[in-house]
C-alpha cells in the first residue's frame, strides 16, 4: 500500500463556493478541480505546461492549473468555466464564443474563454495584437484561431456595451 503522505489543509473559494480541503503536497490544482471537485470543464492536454487547456482564473489572473500545486492556491479565489455563468445566464464571453463559432471540438475552449476573461477585465478596447497575445499560451488545433479572435472581438464589444457587465 502507498505510504501515507502528510496532507495539507487548504481553504479556497471555487466559483464562489468556499471549500476546505486537505490535499497531498504533490497534488496539482487541475487534479483537485477535476477529480476532487468534479469540475471537468477544465481540461488537460499536455504534460509540459504548454497547451493552456487547463487555464483557470486564480485571483483574477489566468493560470495554467497544471502548473500550480493545489496548496499554492490556499486562500485564493478560483474561477473555472463552470463558474463563468451568472445566475443561469451565459456570460457575454460564452455567448460570443457560441455566436462567433469560436470553437470546434471545444477542448481548448474553456481555457481560451478564461484567458479572454482576464484580458477583457483589464482592457476594454483590445487591439488585434492584444487579442493574439492574450491567447498566446492557449493552443487550439481545430479552428485556426480566426473565429476565436472573432469571438473575442464580439465579447469585447458586448462587454463594453453593457459597461463591463459582470467582470
Amino acid at each position: 500500500m502507498p505510504e501515507a503522505v502528510a496532507k495539507i489543509g487548504i481553504k479556497i473559494i471555487v466559483n464562489g463556493k468556499t471549500c476546505s480541503l486537505s490535499v497531498e503536497p504533490r497534488q496539482l490544482l487541475v487534479e483537485l478541480l477535476r477529480e476532487t471537485l468534479d469540475l471537468t470543464g477544465t481540461h488537460v492536454g499536455c504534460d509540459t505546461s504548454y497547451c493552456g487547456a487547463c487555464t483557470v482564473l486564480l485571483n483574477g489572473k489566468a493560470v495554467k492549473s497544471c502548473t500550480v500545486f493545489a496548496f499554492q492556491a490556499d486562500g485564493g479565489e478560483i474561477t473555472t468555466v463552470e463558474g463563468v455563468e451568472k445566475s443561469g445566464n451565459l456570460h457575454p464571453i460564452q455567448k460570443a464564443f457560441g455566436e462567433a463559432y469560436g470553437l470546434q471540438c471545444g477542448y481548448c475552449t474553456p481555457g481560451l474563454m478564461l484567458s479572454t476573461f482576464q484580458l477583457l477585465s483589464k482592457t476594454k478596447d483590445p487591439t488585434e495584437k492584444d487579442l493574439r497575445k492574450a491567447i498566446a499560451g492557449n493552443t487550439c488545433r481545430c479552428t485556426g484561431y480566426q473565429n476565436v479572435l472573432k469571438a473575442m472581438t464580439f465579447a469585447a464589444k458586448a462587454m463594453k456595451e453593457s459597461n463591463g457587465h459582470q467582470v
Binding site: M1, P2, R34, E35, L39, T40, G41, T42, H43, V44, G45, C46, D47, T48, Y50, C51, A53, T80, V81, E82, E85, L90, Q94, F97, G98, E99, A100, Y101, L103, Q104, C105, G106, Y107, C108, T109, P110, M113, E128, L131, R132, K133, I135, A136, N138, T139, C140, R141, C142, T143, G144, Y145, Q146, N147, V148, L149, K150, T153, F154
Partner: protein
C-alpha cells in the same frame, strides 16, 4: 438567404460566398433557429455548442465510474527489441496491483487493424516489439497504487535489436522482414496508369522534374486519448473518444472473442481527431482489463504516450516529372512515392491507393503513371491524417507544376486555369465527372487577389533588404468517401407522439459540426424546423451504422442518408392521410397538420400506435455512394463526388534568419452546396492552420521531442488572416448538392506556401517542413542575399 453575407455571383453557374475574419463591419451572428425548410444554406449555430461553452461536455477523461481501477501500459523503450518478463505475479503482489496483463491474457485474437484484411497490430507484442512505444503489458489497480509505480522497474528484460529506421533500409535486400508475406517490407503498392507516359515525356517540348521528402506529422489533438470500460454481464461497454465506433466494436469483439452484439461503444465528445482517433488506442487495454476483472477500469494517455504510440501522417519520399507543350497544355505526369508506414498497416493501404488516383491534381493530364508503395519500418505506425497522403503528394505535384509553368513562361495561376479539369474531360482514372467540377471557378476566384498580391510583393521587394515577399498558389481535388469501396451510412428518424423529431445519427462529430449539418439537411428534407429535433447519437446501441468520420464523407454520405430518411418520414406522414407529394406539413405540439390544396388534415399523434422504435412513425434510409472498382491500371470510378479547391499564400521570408511569416491565405473551395457556411469556413481555417504547420514547423522524430514543447504546432501568432471563398458548383448526388470539405481544406496550403517561398527567393527545399535551419542552409548554398535578387 439574407443571413449569408456576400452572395456575389450566380451568373457564372456557381455561387460564391466570401467572408473575411475580424471584419467588424460584417458581423455574422449565428442563427439558433430557422423556419421550416430554410435550415440548409444558413449559418445555424452548432447544436452541441452549449455544452462546450459551459464546460459540461464530456470528453474521454471526464467520467470515472465509481470504484474504477486505473490502467497503465508498459511500452517498449527501443525501436525494436525482444523481451522476456520476470515474475509478474510477484510484482503485482509487491506493488498491490490488481492485475498485470500481457498477450497471454487476450482471450480472442491478439490482433487488430482498421482494414480487416491487413489487420496486424497486436494489443500486446508477443515476443518482439516493433516500435518504440509499442505496448507489451499493462497494469491495473487502485489509483494510488498504480499512479505511484515507476514503470521502468517493471520486470521485463529487453534485448535491443537493430531497427529499420528509413524506407531505404527497409527495402534493402536481406533486411529483416517485419511481417510474414510482405516481401521487402512492402505492405502494399498503388498504381494508376493512363496513356503512354514515357513517349509523352520524350516528346514533350518542356519538362520539369522534382524530388521532395516530408516527415512524420503528429495530429496533436489537444485531447489525449482516454476512456473507461466496464462489464455488464455478458456485454463489455467502452466509453472513449473515437472517430469510428462501429469499427471499434468489431475489433474489440475479435480481441475478446465475443459477438459484436456483446460490445457497446459509447463515443464521448472528441477533443480533436483528424484521423488518428480512427484507430484503436486505449480501448483494447480497457476492454481486456474490465472483461477479465469484472470491474470498471479507466485510463488517460499522457501526452508523451499519445505521441509515441498513436498514428502519424506518413512520411513521403516523392519523385515526379511532368511535360507540357509550348502552349502550356499539360501532357504527361510520371509520379512515384514511397510512404513510410511504420510497424503496422493501419491506413497504409488507403494512402497508397488514394495517392495515385489524385497525383495529377485537379487537372487534365492525358498521359499518366503514378506508382506508390507503403513500406514497413520499425517506427510508430503511420495512419490517417486529414487527406490520406494527398497533402504530401500535393507538395510534390503543385511545386512541379509551378516549375513547368515557369519553363513554359506562363503565369502560374493562368497555367493552372488553362489545364483545369472540366466536367467533360476524363480524370486519370478515366472517369468523366459530368458535373460539379468547380476547380476552374476556384482558381478564377483567386485571380483578383493573385494579381494584387504579386504586384504588392514586387513593390515591397524593390526596396526591401533582407526581407523578401512571395506569392504562391496551389490547387487540390479530393474524392469524398472510401476509394472504390462500399461506404454506407444509415440514418433513422422518428416522429414522437409529442410532435418532436428524434434523429438517430451515428456520425461522430469530432468538432467539425457534422451533427449540426446532418440535422439541417434532415430538417429541410422533412420540412420541419430544426428546433423540433432531438439528437440521439454517440452510442452503438441506439444509432444505426454511419460508418466512420473520415474521408470527408459525413456531410456527403451521412448527410445524404439523413436527407433520404427525412424525405421518407415526410412520405410516411403524407401516406397516413393519403395526401399528395405536394402537400405542406406543419408540425405542432402533439399533432401534425397536412395542408393540401384547400384540405386540411390534422393528425393527432397521441391517437397513433407506438412502433418498435418507440415512435408513432419511423423512417430509416441508407446511402452508399456509387463507385466502381479500379482495374489493374487503376481505371474506374473511385469516387462518386470530388471536392475542389485552391489556396493563395502570401509570405515574407527573412533571408538572414531563414524564417517565414505567412501574411495572408486566401482559400477558394468548391463545396457543392454550403449547407452551413460558417462550419465550412471553420473547416477551411483549421485546415489552413494545419497546412501552415506542415509547411513550416511540424516534424515528428520518433524517439525525440515527444511532447508539445519540442513538437511545435501553430499558435495564434502564427496564423495570418484567412479569407474563405466558397464556390457552389453542386453535385447531383450529394444532399442539396453538397460535397465534403474536412480534408480538402488542408491540402493546398503547404504547396502554396512552398511556391511562395520559391517566388520570394528562388529556392525549393528537398525536405519539408521549411524550418528556418533548412531555409537558411539553402539560402547559403545558393548564395542568395536580399539585395542580389532584384
Amino acid at each position: 438567404m439574407d443571413a449569408i453575407g456576400g452572395v456575389l455571383c450566380r451568373c457564372t453557374g456557381y455561387r460564391k460566398i466570401i467572408s473575411a475574419v475580424i471584419d467588424a463591419g460584417r458581423e455574422q451572428i449565428l442563427m439558433s433557429s430557422a423556419p421550416a425548410g430554410t435550415a440548409v444554406g444558413n449559418r445555424m449555430v452548432r447544436l452541441d455548442g452549449l455544452a462546450k461553452i459551459t464546460g459540461k461536455e464530456i470528453y474521454g477523461a471526464d467520467e470515472i465510474p465509481s470504484g474504477a481501477l486505473l490502467l497503465r501500459v508498459i511500452r517498449c523503450p527501443f525501436h525494436r527489441a525482444g523481451f522476456q518478463f520476470g515474475d509478474l505475479e510477484k510484482y503485482a503482489k509487491q506493488n498491490a496491483i490488481t492485475c498485470v496483463l500481457t498477450a497471454k491474457d487476450v482471450p480472442g485474437e491478439n490482433r487488430y487493424g482498421v482494414i480487416p484484411k491487413f489487420a496486424d497490430q497486436p494489443v500486446f507484442a508477443e515476443s518482439e516489439a516493433r516500435f518504440k512505444g509499442e505496448a507489451v503489458a499493462a497494469v491495473a489497480g487502485a489509483q494510488a497504487a498504480v499512479e505511484k509505480l515507476d514503470l521502468t522497474q517493471f520486470p521485463v528484460v529487453w534485448n535491443e535489436l537493430p531497427a529499420l529506421m528509413t524506407i531505404d533500409q527497409a527495402l534493402t535486400p536481406g533486411a529483416p522482414q517485419l511481417h510474414h508475406g510482405r516481401e521487402q517490407n512492402v505492405l502494399v503498392r498503388g498504381r494508376v496508369v493512363r496513356g503512354d507516359v514515357d513517349a509523352a515525356l520524350r516528346n514533350a517540348e518542356i519538362t520539369a522534374e522534382l524530388e521532395v521528402e516530408t516527415g512524420f506529422v503528429e495530429h496533436a489533438c489537444i485531447e489525449p486519448e482516454a476512456g473507461f470500460a466496464r462489464r455488464a454481464g455478458d456485454t463489455i461497454e467502452i466509453q472513449a473518444c473515437t472517430q469510428s465506433p462501429y469499427m471499434d466494436r468489431s475489433d474489440i469483439a475479435r480481441i475478446l472473442g465475443i459477438a459484436e452484439a456483446s460490445v457497446r461503444i459509447i463515443p464521448t465528445a472528441v477533443g480533436g481527431g483528424f484521423g488518428t482517433k480512427l484507430d484503436l488506442s486505449v480501448q483494447p487495454f480497457l476492454a481486456l482489463a474490465a472483461w477479465k476483472l469484472n470491474l470498471p477500469v479507466r485510463m488517460v494517455y499522457s501526452r508523451t504516450e499519445s505521441m509515441i504510440s498513436t498514428t502519424k501522417r506518413h512520411p513521403a519520399r516523392m519523385w515526379a516529372k511532368a511535360g507540357a507543350g509550348r502552349d502550356g497544355k499539360l501532357q504527361a505526369l510520371d509520379f512515384r512515392a514511397d510512404f513510410n508506414t511504420g510497424a503496422y498497416s493501419s491506413w497504409g493501404p488507403t494512402v497508397s491507393a488514394r495517392v495515385p488516383v489524385h497525383a495529377s491534381g485537379p487537372y487534365f493530364v492525358p498521359h499518366y503513371r503514378a506508382l506508390t508503395r507503403a513500406v514497413h519500418t520499425h517506427l510508430v505506425p503511420a495512419g490517417a491524417f486529414r487527406g490520406f497522403g494527398v497533402p504530401q503528394m500535393a507538395i510534390a505535384q503543385e511545386q512541379l507544376y509551378d516549375e513547368l509553368a515557369d519553363r513554359v513562361g506562363m503565369d502560374r495561376l493562368e497555367f493552372r486555369i488553362l489545364n483545369s479539369l472540366t466536367n467533360d474531360l476524363p480524370t486519370v482514372t478515366g472517369q468523366v465527372l459530368g458535373e460539379g467540377v468547380g476547380i476552374r471557378a476556384c482558381f478564377e476566384a483567386l485571380r483578383p487577389r493573385w494579381k494584387a498580391a504579386r504586384k504588392e510583393a514586387v513593390d515591397f521587394n524593390s526596396s526591401a533588404q533582407h526581407l523578401r515577399r512571395g506569392v504562391g498558389v496551389a490547387g487540390m481535388w479530393y474524392g469524398c468517401g472510401n476509394t472504390s469501396l462500399p461506404n454506407p451510412s444509415t440514418m433513422r428518424v422518428g416522429l414522437k407522439s409529442d410532435g418532436r423529431i428524434a434523429l438517430h445519427q451515428g456520425a461522430v462529430d469530432i468538432g467539425q459540426g457534422s451533427a449540426t449539418v446532418v440535422t439541417q439537411i434532415c430538417a429541410d428534407a422533412l420540412g420541419c424546423s430544426i428546433d423540433r429535433f432531438d439528437l440521439l447519437s454517440g452510442d452503438t446501441s441506439i444509432t444505426p451504422d454511419c460508418g466512420k468520420t473520415s474521408a470527408s464523407r459525413q456531410t456527403f454520405v451521412s448527410g445524404k442518408a439523413a436527407y433520404m430518411a427525412g424525405e421518407a418520414l415526410r412520405r410516411e406522414i403524407l401516406r397516413l392521410v393519403k395526401a399528395c407529394d405536394c402537400a405542406k406539413i406543419s408540425f405542432e405540439n402533439g399533432s401534425v397538420e397536412v395542408h393540401e390544396d384547400k384540405k386540411l388534415h390534422r393528425i393527432s399523434l397521441a391517437d397513433l400506435p407506438i412502433d418498435k422504435h418507440g415512435y408513432v412513425l419511423t423512417a430509416e434510409a441508407t446511402f452508399d455512394p456509387p463507385t466502381r472498382a479500379l482495374d489493374e491500371n487503376g481505371q474506374g470510378m473511385p469516387y462518386a463526388v470530388y471536392g475542389f479547391g485552391a489556396h493563395l499564400a502570401e509570405i515574407e521570408v527573412d533571408t538572414e534568419l531563414g524564417t517565414i511569416k505567412v501574411l495572408r491565405i486566401t482559400a477558394a473551395h468548391d463545396v457543392g452546396r454550403a449547407i452551413n457556411p460558417t462550419l465550412i469556413e471553420g473547416q477551411i481555417e483549421g485546415g489552413v492552420a494545419q497546412g501552415i504547420g506542415m509547411a513550416l514547423m511540424e516534424e515528428f522524430f520518433p524517439g525525440k521531442g515527444e511532447n508539445l514543447h519540442d513538437y511545435l504546432i501553430p499558435s495564434a501568432g502564427d496564423i495570418p488572416p484567412i479569407e474563405s471563398i466558397l464556390i457552389e458548383d453542386p453535385s447531383s448526388i450529394g444532399p442539396y448538392g453538397a460535397k465534403g470539405i474536412g480534408e480538402q481544406a488542408v491540402i493546398p496550403t503547404a504547396p502554396a506556401i512552398l511556391n511562395a517561398l520559391h517566388d520570394a527567393i528562388g529556392i525549393r527545399l528537398r525536405k519539408i517542413p521549411a524550418t528556418p535551419d533548412r531555409v537558411r542552409a539553402e539560402i547559403l548554398r545558393c548564395g542568395i542575399t536580399g539585395a542580389s535578387r532584384g
